[in-house]
Structure formats: structure tokens, C-alpha cells
């Protein structure tokens, strides 16, 4: 209430009054079902993760390779043209050393997260993921990395089919 108003007009009801049925009421549970789709491009992207590879879309007008794939080119305002596979190697664009886990709980051993731009896609096109196989002191921007995939049988068509991106080894591609 405010300094001038000690009581609002009307009849106050507490939650308990409703639950105890002190007033007549209508209860209803709408059957509000939904199906949320990842869309055409992202669905294909997720399916290909299960196959252990990254897929992108090309736009023939601006000649870019868009990753993650999308069905519409935001530069040219036109539908994209073709599917193309890109590499599972890339470069760390940016990273964070996080002392909070995914539930925002404090942790002592930090997790490394960041954006990796992937080889074969247009510059700066990439995704966010975990980094592993390196310490918080070793990680740096520009570091070449490669996806560490889960074993094929454990993949579910989720971005977590990749465990993390690890440093690219000598002679590896």
C-alpha cells in the first residue's frame, strides 16, 4: 500500500481462498500443445552432427559459405542455394575461462568456452562450444583446433555430439 492508501477497493482473495473453494470459480487447463522445430537448415545441421560432420549452406550471389547453415542469405536477401560440407577443424576466435558451471554454480576447475570459426566456411563463421585438451593458461585466440566427437553410437543429433574442440595436432587436418 502507499502512504495515502491503506486499502485498495475490491475484495481481496488469497491463493488459499481459491484452493479451498471459498468462492465460486472455473478451473481450466488449456490443451496448449506445441511442437518447436529447429527449422530446415538447423535440422539438417543436427542430423549431420550425428554423422560426425559439419554442413553449411552456400549463397551463389555473395559466394559465402554460411555456417551454421541457414536457408536465407541475410546479405543478399535471397534464399541460399546449396548444401556443402565443411571441415571439423577451425580457429579459436574468442574464449572465456569460466568458474561457473552451466547451472551457475561456482567451480574450482574452470571450464573453457568460446567461439570457433570453422575451416571451409566463410571467415568468422562458426559456433560456440567447449574447449578441451588444453589448460586455461594454454588457450589463446588464433589457436587451431579440431572437434573431439563422441563415439558414433552415443551421438544424438545434438550439438553435444561434439565433446569439445581440442588443439590440432602436428600433421593433422
Amino acid at each position: 500500500m502507499t502512504a495515502r492508501i491503506s486499502r485498495w477497493p475490491g475484495i481481496e482473495l488469497r491463493a488459499a481462498d481459491l484452493i479451498e473453494g471459498k468462492v465460486t470459480q472455473t478451473r481450466f487447463r488449456p490443451d496448449a500443445k506445441y511442437a518447436w522445430s529447429a527449422g530446415e537448415a538447423m535440422s539438417r545441421f543436427l542430423e549431420e552432427l550425428q554423422n560426425g560432420r559439419f554442413i553449411a549452406r552456400t549463397c551463389h550471389k555473395c559466394e559465402r559459405i554460411l555456417f551454421p547453415p541457414r536457408m536465407f542469405c541475410e546479405e543478399c536477401f535471397r534464399p541460399t542455394d546449396a548444401w556443402t560440407f565443411i571441415h571439423d577443424t577451425g580457429t579459436i576466435e574468442t574464449f572465456s575461462v569460466s568458474y561457473l558451471d552451466t547451472d551457475a554454480k561456482r567451480i574450482t576447475e574452470p571450464i573453457l568456452v568460446g567461439v570457433v570459426s570453422l575451416d571451409g566456411a566463410s571467415p568468422k563463421m562458426g559456433m560456440m562450444h567447449y574447449f578441451g585438451g588444453m589448460t586455461k593458461d594454454e588457450i589463446r585466440i588464433g589457436m587451431p583446433v579440431k572437434a573431439e566427437w563422441k563415439p558414433p553410437g552415443d551421438r544424438r543429433g545434438s550439438v553435444l555430439d561434439i565433446l569439445y574442440f581440442r588443439p590440432l595436432r602436428e600433421g593433422e587436418r
Binding site: 468462492v23 470459480q25 488449456p30 496448449a32 511442437a35 538447423m42 535440422s43
Partner: protein, 160 residues
């Protein structure tokens, strides 16, 4: 598919299904409370009265629509009403086919503004506007203070 073709079924792609928990409790309000309590406890149907405008409202409301006065007086609605409009439903509110068509009617009462929308307890081929009808109530122990305390409206039995 180009971007001009709309995808109307999300399930064609990778998707997640769910159900929005949008439960609600809707209270009857001050005037609605009077109406449902009288209906439940005494089997009466009440209208609220505006003495200035000489108007009765059904369902009762707390304020006069014409003069905005607060309404505190309640009067009994006449036993017999008149069917103003009918509709025969073949599907339920979810769109599923009904085993038997249901007849619904808007029932008005002489001299009262408004009316009640409810089941009309006649065969579909007999449903028509102009019928003289009266409410058939549930027995007292079956009444809970909702509009379903009225089972529906049935024709007033003629004396002839």
C-alpha cells in the same frame, strides 16, 4: 523449398514437443458469485437490477452498462424464457466429432437484458428459435456453483 514456401508442420523437421502449463482459476466476481451461490443453494436464477434505468441484467453484473451505477439489488428471473437462437454442434470444442449432435441455445427472458447460453434439451430437428423453455437443474447435491448446475433448457410443457 524456397523461403516463400511456408512450413506449417514443425514435425517435418527435428523438433521438440511440449505442453504449455497455462492452468487458470477464474473467479465469478461479485455479481457472478451471487448468481452461482443462489443457483447452487436455492436453485434460483438471479438478475441484477438498476432501479434508475429500470433494467435487469442476466447474467447479473455489478455495474449498470447504461448509467455506470453500482448495482446491489437482485431479482428472480422468470421461470420461462424464450429461445433466441439455436445452433447444432457436431464437433466438440477440440474439434473431435461428437457421437450425437448437441443443441445449444441462447435463452432470453422477458424484460431482461442479456440471457444465458446453454444446452437445449430437444432433438436437433426440433430446435428452433421461439421455443418457450425453462431451466432443468441438477439435484441439490450435484450442484457445485457453476453454470453446469443447470443441465440445460427444456421446453415448457404445454397445458394443452
Amino acid at each position: 523449398m524456397t523461403f516463400l514456401d511456408r512450413t506449417t508442420d514443425a514435425r517435418k523437421f527435428r523438433h521438440w514437443e511440449g505442453n504449455v502449463e497455462a492452468d487458470y482459476i477464474y473467479t465469478s466476481g461479485v455479481a457472478g458469485e451471487r448468481f452461482f451461490i443462489a443457483l447452487r443453494d436455492e436453485g434460483r436464477m438471479l438478475a441484477s437490477r438498476c432501479t434508475v434505468c429500470k433494467l435487469d441484467y442476466l447474467p447479473p453484473r455489478m455495474f449498470c452498462e447504461d448509467c455506470f451505477a453500482e448495482l446491489t439489488e437482485y431479482v428472480d428471473v422468470a421461470q420461462a424464457g424464450r429461445v433466441a437462437a439455436v445452433t447444432v454442434a457436431h464437433v466438440d470444442r477440440t474439434g473431435a466429432k461428437l457421437s450425437h449432435p448437441q443443441v445449444w441455445a441462447f435463452v432470453t427472458f422477458e424484460g431482461i437484458r442479456g440471457g444465458l447460453f446453454h444446452r437445449l434439451l430437444v432433438a436437433p430437428k426440433l430446435a428452433r428459435a421461439g421455443l418457450s423453455v425453462q431451466a432443468r437443474l441438477k439435484p441439490r447435491d450435484g450442484r457445485t456453483g457453476t453454470i453446469a448446475d443447470i443441465e440445460g433448457f427444456e421446453p415448457v410443457h404445454s397445458r394443452f
